[in-house]
């Protein structure tokens, strides 16, 4: 009996050794990144829930959020935006310098780093990665970022650990471009690339040994419909102050849990360790018994996302949408849009839609974006009187029963599309409908499946108004270029403008282009403030509100430092660990 017990213990110990990849001992000549977090301890498997399965594990072609969330843990970039400080920090690059004209970027790579399969990382991999990102045939969603001043970024190898990037024109915050551009192992995927099969590499069914990255974890197992298991990358390039190689966790498990409510229940039941992106109602529900369950819930304050009402101002002359075109006379009237903006009860929306955990918005920059928000932007309070005055001065009048009529005596009536899968935007629509009915407008809310809605807004223009949300990625203004340039792909109110349709859109174009090449923060801020003011004065979007970022985690997780930038909770996953005294 006794011997059997011994044997079992031995077997178990052996199994434990084989089950997890132990961190490699530090090698001489490795340029490692030392984190400043409190020292943790090894072990444990962290479980988080994901709304849907990733579509691919290919960092170059992935476009959907679930894929990017997983890929972000498997790979690393040259220069990284620290989610807590919102500033850039060296990652695979040890340092970088910029030439005086702001067009040349010289990046020094860390020495002695290895991919998660143990093979070495050097400038050849960087060159290869950028070649793939820039290849039009690969259709990488990040390719646009790498076209500066109309020209693709040029990449040159200076020596095995130095790479030089040449930009078509000076580019503000150029180092932020590198964030999220995963470095690919040339030895594993070059063959597929030369055979034009690159978009097909690294799917969910690829054997884990054929996938290697520079991230804190590597793929261990994928169970379709259930979960994706990552294990420690034993060669990871970060260490803590006690020279322990990170990550501390043995495993990171993504459970596929269909919707937010199910995620709430799983977290409540203790099946998952961390929860993020959930509503204030569920937050309230979870906080009720949070301390007895050993969980902590954190409200991080307003996110960077902005939700808004947009009116269809597209050129409909080539479309057979006469009814909508007739209503555009109202939507194009600045006073009409201002009246709508003035009638919307933003405080009420924050209260009812976000249960108070959100912030009203009058511009596109969230109050939590401290570096860029224009503090001088006016926040006019809700006023139905002011709205009525504006409408009156624009030639609108009221029928005896209170219905609003335009100059031609037409009753003002339109519909607002809202994504049916987004309960919060549907609620906003219902409140706005009630607010506008007090001005005598007859507004219908049309809940629509998200893809159908996107199709109408982006392709067919068959809508009158819609509630949408944008932003939430980076704090910098550059990702917003697409939204505000008159020819931008997300210039939702009027897509496909060949030249600015209005003077103010022309001004925004100029200011946005100027800030793009301006290298001094103060000057850029001044330019972007002007953009925010023009937008607020002309209300192409009626800004509504932004939700707070709410997260929750078991208290036994150490170094948990959620941030308002994506990924809110897992950005420092390599530093997370299970506190002593808790079963891992």
């Amino acid at each position: 009996m006794h011997r059997m017990g011994c044997l079992a213990t031995l077997l178990l110990a052996g199994a434990a050794c084989f089950a997890f990849s132990a961190p490699q001992a530090l090698q001489r000549g490795e340029d490692l990144f030392t984190t400043d977090n409190p020292v943790g301890r090894y072990g444990g498997s962290l479980v988080v829930a994901q709304r849907s399965e990733p579509k691919t594990l290919n960092p170059v072609t992935a476009a959907d959020a679930p894929s990017r969330e997983v890929i972000g843990r498997l790979t690393a970039d040259l220069i990284h935006i620290n989610r807590a400080s919102q500033q850039t920090e060296p990652a695979l690059a040890k340092s970088w310098t910029m030439s005086k004209d702001g067009r040349q970027f010289t990046v020094k790579l860390r020495h002695g780093l290895r991919f998660s399969d143990g093979s070495a990382f050097d400038a050849e991999d960087v060159l290869f990665s950028f070649k793939v990102y820039l290849d039009e045939k690969v259709h990488s969603p990040q390719r646009d970022l790498l076209i500066v001043g109309g020209k693709p970024i040029e990449v040159q190898k200076v020596d095995p650990y130095t790479v030089r990037f040449t930009l078509g024109q000076p580019y503000a915050a150029a180092e932020r471009i590198f964030d999220g551009l995963a470095m690919m192992p040339r030895h594993l995927v070059e063959k597929a690339y030369t055979e034009d099969k690159f978009p097909q590499v690294w799917t969910l069914t690829t054997t884990p040994s054929e996938i290697a990255g520079m991230g804190p974890f590597r793929l261990k197992e994928y169970v379709p419909g259930q979960k994706l298991v990552l294990e420690r990358n034993p060669y990871y390039w970060k260490i803590d102050t006690s020279k322990n190689r990170l990550p501390y966790l043995d495993e990171l498990v993504f459970l596929f849990v269909g919707n937010e409510d199910a995620q709430t229940i799983r977290f409540q039941a203790g099946d998952t360790d961390i929860i993020s992106r959930f509503s204030a109602e569920n937050y309230a529900l979870l906080s009720k018994a949070a301390s007895s369950r050993g969980t902590a819930l954190i409200d991080l304050g307003p996110s960077l996302e902005y939700n808004f009402l947009v009116f269809n101002l597209n050129d409909l002359s080539s479309k057979n949408l006469g009814k909508i075109a007739a209503k555009q006379a109202w939507f194009q009237d600045l006073k009409f849009r201002l009246a709508v903006s003035s009638a919307i009860d933003r405080e009420g929306i924050v209260k009812l839609v976000y249960a108070g955990r959100g912030a009203p918005l009058w511009g596109n920059v969230s109050p939590s974006n401290k570096f860029w928000v224009d503090q001088a932007l006016p926040h006019p309070p809700r006023s139905l009187d002011k709205a009525r005055e504006l409408l009156k001065s624009a030639g609108f009048s009221w029928r005896n029963d209170g219905r609003l009529l335009d100059r031609q005596g037409q009753a003002v009536e339109f519909s607002i599309l809202a994504s049916s899968s987004n309960a919060q935007r549907s609620k906003m629509a219902t409140i706005i409908q009630d607010d506008l009915s007090q001005l005598g407008m007859d507004v219908h809310v049309v809940p629509l499946e998200f893809r159908a809605l996107v199709d109408r807004v982006f392709q067919t223009y068959d809508y009158e108004a819609s509630i949408m949300g944008l932003g939430g990625g980076d704090a910098d203004p550059n990702p917003e270029m697409n939204v505000w340039l008159s020819n931008g792909g997300t210039h939702l109110w009027h897509l496909g403008e060949t030249k600015p349709a209005t003077d103010w859109e022309g001004q925004i174009d100029q200011l946005m282009q100027k800030q793009l090449v301006e290298l001094k923060y103060k000057e850029r801020k001044h330019l972007y403030d002007q953009v925010q003011e023009i937008i607020a004065a002309n209300v192409p979007y009626v800004f509504i509100a932004t939700p707070n970022i709410l997260v929750g985690a078991k208290k036994k997780i150490g170094n948990f430092k959620p941030a308002i930038l994506d990924p809110n909770t897992l950005w420092n996953v390599e530093q997370l660990y299970f506190l002593p005294g808790s079963p891992p």
Partner: protein
């Protein structure tokens, strides 16, 4: 005989409910669309008879809710002042049964207090008023759709049974097709094809038309059976021998035979169609916000936090259960009577 009191209860309940729904404007204390943004998910207002000093009041009174500071949708009674419940008070304007304008409400309390007999929803709208107004949609949908189904069913059933042969054959194959249709999925599919931007009246009528036309098959088959047996009765043959026309035979001898079955079917179909409307609205395919309907009211329960936190949001389900059980009891009674007459 034993069934008698049960039927009585069912009839009384149904009549009360239908009257309340028909006179929703009068019975409801509030405008079903009025949002009280300071009172989302307020629980039902409590009716008190004894005040803080221990005095008994014959007329019930309420204390208004005030949000408890620093909490999420939690309320406490502010007991500074009692607001006695008053009857026939003036309030929001409405039309009795959609016709006569009025602004008198059966009961209410003096402003600024409000009475939420069944609490409020996410937007602070009075749930009790919304259930009554929602009933107008849901129950009317049930009754109107039943009328459509039975008219179609009777028409096709009569023709099929009376003329027989290939008419009968083809009609009955069509019936079988409709009987095997998974109606819920058909409804979902059909609704998805309809244009999205419709006024609530249009949506309502379409909904009724769709529900009604899908359900004609079963009554058609039953009616056909009766017609088939009736037309071969000796008195019908005799009547025909005396030169009666088809129309006369149908009106005088055949149709009266179907009445019993028709009434039973009606009592069975109404709750089924109310449920169909509720199902469609629950899935967001019925009337859209802010128009109340029972399915729409219940659809808030799809949110987990509502499901576990606010019991009064289940109230429309209770109304639905009362309607269904009431009608089914009556259907039972009709059925029993039919059995005893024919048996």
């Amino acid at each position: 005989m034993k069934a008698q009191p049960r039927i009585l209860v069912a009839v009384v309940l149904l009549v009360t409910l239908h009257l309340a729904i028909l006179l929703a404007g009068l019975v409801a204390p509030a405008d079903p669309l009025a949002q009280n943004r300071d009172f989302p998910f307020a629980p039902p207002t409590r009716l008190h008879f004894v005040d803080l000093r221990g005095h008994l009041h014959l007329r019930p009174f309420v204390y208004p809710w005030t949000p408890r500071p620093e909490t999420f949708n939690e309320y406490e009674e502010s007991r500074d002042r009692e607001y006695p419940v008053q009857f026939f008070v003036p309030g929001a304007a409405y039309r009795i049964a959609g016709l006569v304008p009025s602004h008198i409400h059966l009961l209410g309390v003096q402003a600024p207090a409000q009475i939420f007999l069944l609490g409020t929803d996410n937007y602070g709208r009075d749930q009790f008023s919304r259930i009554l107004y929602g009933g107008q949609i849901s129950v009317a949908a049930g009754i109107l759709a039943t009328l459509i189904s039975l008219s179609l069913g009777t028409l096709i059933g009569c023709i099929s049974g009376f003329y027989g042969r290939w008419v009968d054959e083809s009609a009955m194959r069509l019936v079988e097709l409709f009987l095997v249709l998974p109606w819920l999925y058909v409804l979902l599919g059909v609704r998805a094809f309809l244009p999205l931007h419709l006024s609530s009246v249009q949506t309502f009528l379409l909904l009724i038309a769709v529900i009604g036309t899908i359900g004609w098959a079963r009554p058609a088959r039953l009616i056909r059976g009766i017609v088939l047996s009736a037309k071969n009765q000796s008195y019908v043959t005799a009547s025909r021998g005396f030169g009666a026309s088809n129309a006369y035979l149908m009106r005088r001898h055949v149709l009266p035979q179907t009445y019993g079955v028709l009434w039973t079917q009606a009592a069975l179909l109404v709750p089924q169609y109310v449920l169909a409307e509720v199902t469609l609205s629950f899935f967001g395919l019925g009337l859209s916000e802010p128009t109340p309907s029972w399915g729409g009211l219940l659809s808030t329960l799809q949110q987990y936090n509502v499901l576990v936190s606010y019991w009064w949001m289940f109230a429309p389900a209770v109304a639905l259960a009362v309607v269904s059980l009431g009608y089914l009891n009556i259907a039972n009674a009709f059925h029993d009577r039919l059995q005893s007459v024919s048996g």
